[in-house]
Subunit: 458 residues, 4 copies
Amino acid sequence: MFVERIKTEGLAQLSYLIGDGSEAAVIDPRRDCEVYAQMARERGCRITHIFETHRNEDLVSGAPILATMTGASVHHGPNAAGTVVYADIVCEGDQFAIGNLCLKVLETPGHTDDSLSFAIYDGGYGDGAVGVFTGDALFVGDVGRTDFYPERAEEVAGKLYDSLQKIVALGDQTNLYPAHGAGSVCGNKMADRDFSTIGYERHNNPMLQFDRREAFIQAKLEEHHNQPPYFHVMERINLVGAAPASPLLTPRVLDIPSFDGVAGRAVLVDVRGISAFLGAHVPGSLALPVGMIAAFAGWYLDEHEELILIADSATQAEAAARNLTRIGYDHLLGYLNTAMPGWAAAGRPFRSVPVIDAQEVKTRIGNKRENWVLLDVRDRGEISEGIIKGAETIYVGKLPEQLDRLAKDRNYTVMCASGARATIAASVLLRAGFHNVDVFLGSMGAWRAAGGEVVEPS
Amino acid sequence: MFVERIKTEGLAQLSYLIGDGSEAAVIDPRRDCEVYAQMARERGCRITHIFETHRNEDLVSGAPILATMTGASVHHGPNAAGTVVYADIVCEGDQFAIGNLCLKVLETPGHTDDSLSFAIYDGGYGDGAVGVFTGDALFVGDVGRTDFYPERAEEVAGKLYDSLQKIVALGDQTNLYPAHGAGSVCGNKMADRDFSTIGYERHNNPMLQFDRREAFIQAKLEEHHNQPPYFHVMERINLVGAAPASPLLTPRVLDIPSFDGVAGRAVLVDVRGISAFLGAHVPGSLALPVGMIAAFAGWYLDEHEELILIADSATQAEAAARNLTRIGYDHLLGYLNTAMPGWAAAGRPFRSVPVIDAQEVKTRIGNKRENWVLLDVRDRGEISEGIIKGAETIYVGKLPEQLDRLAKDRNYTVMCASGARATIAASVLLRAGFHNVDVFLGSMGAWRAAGGEVVEPS
Amino acid sequence: MFVERIKTEGLAQLSYLIGDGSEAAVIDPRRDCEVYAQMARERGCRITHIFETHRNEDLVSGAPILATMTGASVHHGPNAAGTVVYADIVCEGDQFAIGNLCLKVLETPGHTDDSLSFAIYDGGYGDGAVGVFTGDALFVGDVGRTDFYPERAEEVAGKLYDSLQKIVALGDQTNLYPAHGAGSVCGNKMADRDFSTIGYERHNNPMLQFDRREAFIQAKLEEHHNQPPYFHVMERINLVGAAPASPLLTPRVLDIPSFDGVAGRAVLVDVRGISAFLGAHVPGSLALPVGMIAAFAGWYLDEHEELILIADSATQAEAAARNLTRIGYDHLLGYLNTAMPGWAAAGRPFRSVPVIDAQEVKTRIGNKRENWVLLDVRDRGEISEGIIKGAETIYVGKLPEQLDRLAKDRNYTVMCASGARATIAASVLLRAGFHNVDVFLGSMGAWRAAGGEVVEPS
Amino acid sequence: MFVERIKTEGLAQLSYLIGDGSEAAVIDPRRDCEVYAQMARERGCRITHIFETHRNEDLVSGAPILATMTGASVHHGPNAAGTVVYADIVCEGDQFAIGNLCLKVLETPGHTDDSLSFAIYDGGYGDGAVGVFTGDALFVGDVGRTDFYPERAEEVAGKLYDSLQKIVALGDQTNLYPAHGAGSVCGNKMADRDFSTIGYERHNNPMLQFDRREAFIQAKLEEHHNQPPYFHVMERINLVGAAPASPLLTPRVLDIPSFDGVAGRAVLVDVRGISAFLGAHVPGSLALPVGMIAAFAGWYLDEHEELILIADSATQAEAAARNLTRIGYDHLLGYLNTAMPGWAAAGRPFRSVPVIDAQEVKTRIGNKRENWVLLDVRDRGEISEGIIKGAETIYVGKLPEQLDRLAKDRNYTVMCASGARATIAASVLLRAGFHNVDVFLGSMGAWRAAGGEVVEPS
C-alpha cells in the first residue's frame, strides 16, 4: 500500500497516486497528467479510480483527461453550481476498494459546497484511518479559504468548522494529505512542511484551536484573499472538462523573421528571470518569470489571447508553457529563441528598467523629489504590516484595472517585498505607456535591512 | 521541511533525505550513495549531516562514502563491538539543527546495542515530534529482530521493549520512518504499507500490544530468523567503512572468447529470470535472478570470489551489479552478453531443468516412485505451516552446508512456495554434481490450489 | 547544418532529422514520432518539412502524425497505386530550403514506383552534394529489393539500375543516408556498417559493380525475398495515413483475475526471451521475443486481432507495444504482470518445451528414430546453403499456411540457425494442437560447430 | 561498425566512440568521460583502446581517466615536448583491430609535432578508408592553426601542408571526423556543418585549394589566433594526466551566510545570462555566462584560484562547473543560490550596468561627448573589417593585461559584435575599479543595422 505525492510547483498543488497490489487511484490530477500514468506503470499498477476533492478554481483539472487515457472512473461530490459532466457523484460514506486499500468518502463542505475528503484504511491490517485526503479543507498549518460565496460567508465558514471536526475525529494517527502546500493562493498561512498528521495539526494548527464555532467563523470573516479573474474561467472549464494539454509542450521556435510575422497579434510574455528583464527586454513585453506564472498570469492574460514567450532556452519555454497550460492558457504561438544581445545585434529595439537601492529611496524621500511616486504593489496583508511613509499602494494583480489612479507624467518607483512583483508591475506600467518607471530592488526587505522607517498605511 | 524516502529494492531498505531551507541530512545511506547527493542538489540543499540508526549487518553502509563526497559529518551510536571509525558518537538527547528542523537522538538498543532513533521537530512551527526514524527498532507492523546476541537473548529483547516505550512516548501524531519495509530479512511480519504513524502502530502493531515486558520478551525468544553468513562480513566492513562502489556499475562485456579467458576462475551467476534459467543455462551456473540477489547471494557467495554474471541485457547486468555491490561483492569480472540461442549456436554446452506440476507430483507420490525425493527448501516458519507428506526439508540457504544429507544417485524434485527458491536450490544441486533434479513449478501454491493434502512436518 | 540518424531497432529502419539554423526537416518518420519533435526542440529548431522516400510496406509511416503535431508539410513522390492523401507530390528537380541547407528531389524508382532520393547541398559553402537520402534504392553494401511488382520484375529492376546511376552521379564525396541498415527485411546483404559514402559504395558495393544493365537485372531476378502478409496492410494504411500511436505505450497491467476476464478473446503473445519461453510459458501463447516482433509478428497476427502480452516487466511490455504499434497492431488489451513461478503458484497450468543438442540430434538420426521429423524453418537462402540430411523444410513465417504438410501424431524437432526462430515455430505448432515438439537449441550453428554433415536440399 | 560523435559544446570539441561487435575505442576523450563508458555499455561494447590525435592545449584530456575506468590502453604520437606518461607511443603505419574495424595510424604533424590522424577500414567489407579522424589537422572548411611554435612557423605550416596531402590521399570516399567543429578557438573559419568527406573538402575547403606548398605556408603565416594563457596549463597537465573530474559536478549550495563565510577569498563568477548580469549583479563579480566559459574563462582565471559561482539554478551551476572542469578549474567553493531580488531583499548591495543603443552612440559621437571612450573589444580579425570611428580597441581577453591603457576618470562604453563580450569586458572594468562603464547592446550588429558608418582601424 502506497501513497505518492506529486507536487506541482508554482501552483503548490498536491495530487496523489495511491494504490495497493496492481490497482491504483489518483486524487486531484492536474492537466498534464501523463505523470500519474507513468508512475502507476512503474509500479505495475493500473489506475482504476480518480477522485476529486472539489471543483478546482485555481487550476485545470486533469481528471477527465486521465480518465480517457486510462479508462478509470472519476468521482466528485455533489455540486450545486452545476453538473461535473465527466464524473460520478459520490456521497458521505461511499466506499471504494483499491486492492486492499479502502477509501471512504467524507463530505466536508466549506471551502466549496462540493468539497469532499477521502479517508483511507488498510483493509489488510488494523483499524482506524491511516490517512486522509483533505483537499482545500485542512492544510498543514492552515485551513481552506471560505471567500468564494461572499453572500453566504458566515454559513460556509461554519460549514468548514463542522467539516474540520469530522476530519479531526478520524484520530491523531491519521496522516494528512492536503491539496496544497506552502506557496499556494488557496490558503493563508500554511506551514512550510511537507508532511503532517491529524494529531500534529490538532495540537498545533492555529485554526484548529478555536473552542467555539463562532470564534472560528469570525476569524474566517476577517481574512482577506485575492481572487484573480481566471478563477471563474477555471470553474467553468472544470464543470465540462478541459481538452488534454498538448503532448508537445515546448512552443514552436520563432527566429526573428518568424517572430515578426506573428508578434503583432499576440501578447509578449517574458518568462526569463527578474534580473534579465530589468537588464534588457523586448519593448512591450509583460514580465512573468516562469516561477511566477501560476500565481500572476491569471491577473493579466485572457484565456483567448494569443501569447508569444520570450525565454532563455527551450527548457525554460517548456516550463512556462506547462505552467500556462495548467491554468488554461493554450494559445501559444511560439517562443522567441534569440537571446538579448542577439536581438539587439539584429538591430531590434530593446528596453531596460533602472534599479535603485534603499539608499537612493531614502535620498529621494529626504529630497522630497518632485513628481515622484513610490508605488507599493504588495497585497493587503503585507501592506497592513507597514509601508514606507508616503508610498501609494495598489496590489500588483489589480494594477491593470486601477491604472487610472496613476498619471503618465509622473515618475514611478515600484516596490514590493523583494523587487520581483515590482518588476511585473513595472512591465505592466511600461506596456500601458508609462515611461518613467524604475524598480526598488530589494524593496521592503532591503528597506528594513537598512533600518528604514515603516509606518502604518493610511 | 521535507522527508524523502529512498527505497532500495531487494534489501527493502529505507533511507531518508531530510532537510529544510538549504540544509539536508541523510539517515542510513546505502553504498551507492550518489542518489542522495543528486536529490539534495535538485532541492538546492547541501548535505551537512549523516545519521546511522545502527551498524547494519545486512548491507554495506554508504555513510563514510557520502561523507567524503559531501563533507558532511557522520553520527553513530556508541558501539561496544568496536569503534565505527568514520563516525562521531552521539548519545541520548543530543540535538542537531538542519535548517529549522531539529533532530534529537534517542538511544533505542535491542536490535543492536548501538541502535539509535532520531525524533524530528519543526523548529518553526508547533510542539511535539513530527516524525521519528526508528531504524530496526520499530517497523510498520513489526519490531526489529533480537537474535544477534544469542547469549544475551532475553536481555536484548527486554531492551527493545524499553526502547519501544520510549519511541511510543513521542505521541500518536508522530510519523514513523523505519529502516526497512516489507520484504526485508530484518523483521518478521512487516505490514505491506509504506507509511504509518506512532498512533497507528500503537493501536495495531501486534508487537506493541503486550502489557507485560515479560510477554514481549517471551514472544521475541520464540521467533526464528535466518542469519546468512555474509552478515558478519557486513558487520566487519561497517566498522571501518567500505570503499565507494564503482561509478561504472555495469560489469565489463564478455563475448564468448573473453568469457573463456576468465570463466575458469570465477563463479558463474545467472541473474536472468527463473523461467530462463529453467529453459536453458550455462552448465555450472548458480541461479540468482536479479530480484533475489539481496536475499540469497549472501548464502552462496564469498566476498573474495570473482564472479561472472550471465544476463539478458546490460541493464539487467547493471541491476545485478548494483545489488551485489550493496552487500559487498565487488569482484565482478564481467557479464556474458550472449543470449541463450547464440551461446548454443556457437557450439557451447547448455543445460535445462525439467519442470513438473502438481498433478505429476501427486502421481509420483501415488506411485511411490522409487529413489525419488521431494525436497522442500522453504524456511522454518513456512515449513511449520505444513508440508507435503514425505517431503524432506532443508532451507534453501543452508543447502550448501547440508549437501551431505543428500545422495547423488537419487532423483530430486525441488519445491518451495512458488518454484523460485526451488530453482536456486536446483542450481546449487546441479553445481554440486547432482544430475537428476527437476523443479516443482508452482510448488506449495500450486499444491494447495490443486487441493493437495498438507501435513505437519515431523 | 546537421544530419541526425534515428535508428529504429527491430525494423532496422533509419530515419533522419536534418536542419540548419532554426529550421529542420524529417526524412521517413516512424509512427511513434515524438522523438523527432523532441530532438528538434533540443536543437532549437522547428520542423517545417517531412519527406518520404517511398510508401513504406514494412512499417506505418509517421509522416501525417508528425505533420499534425508540428504543422510541417509532407512531401511524397507520385504514386500510381493511389494518392497519398496527406502529402504533396514532388518531382525530379524540386528544391526545398531548410535554413542554408538545400534539398533536391531525385526520382529513383525501382524498389517502388514512387521512390525518391533527396540530395542535400550546403547552400552556404561549396558545390556538390554533401549527402543523399536514398530510401530503399541504395543501402550500405546492397540495393533495394525489386520483387513488389512480380509481373513487371524485369522492368522495375531495370529502373532501379537507372536510378542507381543517377545517385552515383552525385559524386564520390556524397554521404550516403539509406532508409535501412543491416537486419532489415528490405535488403538482402547489407553491410553491418552505419555509415558510407557514394564513393565507398561505388568501389565496394557488389550491386554497383555490374557493367551491364542486363547483368544487374538478371541478378535481381534471381534474388528471393519473403513478403509477410502485413506488407499489404502497411501499403493500404500508408496511403491514407495512420492514427497516432497511443501516448501511453505500456499496455494495461493485468493481474490474473483481470487476465481471465479477457484472455478468451485474445491472442496471447509471449514477448519474453527464448529461454524463458522454453522454460515455462502460458499454454497457447505465441512466442515472439520483443526483438523479433518487427520481423515476425506480421506473419502470425492479424491487424484486427486483440492481443495480450506476456512480459517480464513493464519496460519489456512497453518495448513490445512500441514494436507492435510501429507495424500497425493497436489492439492490445494489456499485459500479464505475473512472472512464471507466480502464475504456476496460483494454480495455473504452464507448459515447457524440451530442448536437445547436436549430439542428441545425431543420435536420433543415427538411430533412425521412428516417427520423428527434423523440421528446419530457415529461409530459402539459408536452406540453399545446406541442410541436415533428412530435414523437412518450411519457412517459419509460412508455417501457419503449411500446417497441413505436418501431422499431429508425429514427433517434431524444430531447428533454424540458432534455435530462436525454431522456438517461434514450436509455439506455432503447440498452438495448433501439436503435442510432441522439441527444439534443437543451437540448431545449424551448433551442428556445424559439432562437425555435423550438411547436404544440399533436395 | 559504428562511429558516434560526442560534441562538447562551448569547446566545440568533437570526440568519438567507434566500434564493432563487442569492442570499442574512443578518440580524444574529454575529462568528464563517463559518457563514453555509458554509450559503450548501451551498445554492449567494452572500450579497449583510447587514441589521442595530439596533446590538447585547449582542454583537459580524459584519456588517462577513461583508461583507469575501463582498463583500455591509451595511444599517443611521439611528443618532443615530453613524455605523455599515461600513453603508449604509436607511429605511422601502426594498426589496431577493434572488432572488424581496422584503425591505421598516420603521422600528420603541423598543428602540433605529435599530431596523428587515424584512418579506419572495414575489415569485413571492401577496400579503402571509410573514415579518418584528423584531430586538428583538417576541419570541415578549414585546417588547424600553426601558431604554437612561433620560432618554427614556416616549418610547421609546411609540415601541415604535407600532412594534408597524406590525408587527402585516402580518397574522396573517406568520411571526415575532425576534433573540432564551428565555434572552436582551434581553427579560423570552419564551416558550420557537422559532417563532410575528404572528397567534399578536396573540392571546397579553401585551405586545400593551394597548388603550391609555399602559397599555403604564406597563408598560414598571415593568420592571427589568440592564445589564452591557460593553453600552457593544459599542455602541462596533458603530459602527466589530470585527475578525474568530481562525480558531483554541482558545486555546494551556498546560502547567503555560507557565502559570506568564503566570499572574501574567492573570485565571484556570474554564469547567468548577459541580460541578467546587466540587470543586477553582485558587485565585484566577473560576468562569464555559462556558454562563454570555454572560450573566455582561460583569459581571466588562474587554475589555482578558488571560485564561487553565481547562478540561476543548480542546473546552470552544474553546467558551469562542467565547463570549468573541462579546462582545469577545479577549486569551486560552491554557488550562491539566491536569485537577485532575494539577494537585494536581504539588504545586500547590487550593481547594474546601463545599456545604450546605436542611436545613443550616434548622439554621443555627434555631440563629441567629453571624456568618453567607445571601447571595442572584438578580436583582430573583426577589427580589421572595420570599426566605429574613434573607437579604441583592446581584445576582450587581453583587457586585464592592458588596463593601464585606460583611465578610471574617463567614461567607457564597451562594445563588441553584439554586446556579449562587451558585458564580460564591462565586468572586468568594474572589478578593476572603473566606475563609469556602460554597454552598447547590439554593438556592431546594431550599428550596421542602423546604417552607422564603419571605418578602417588606424
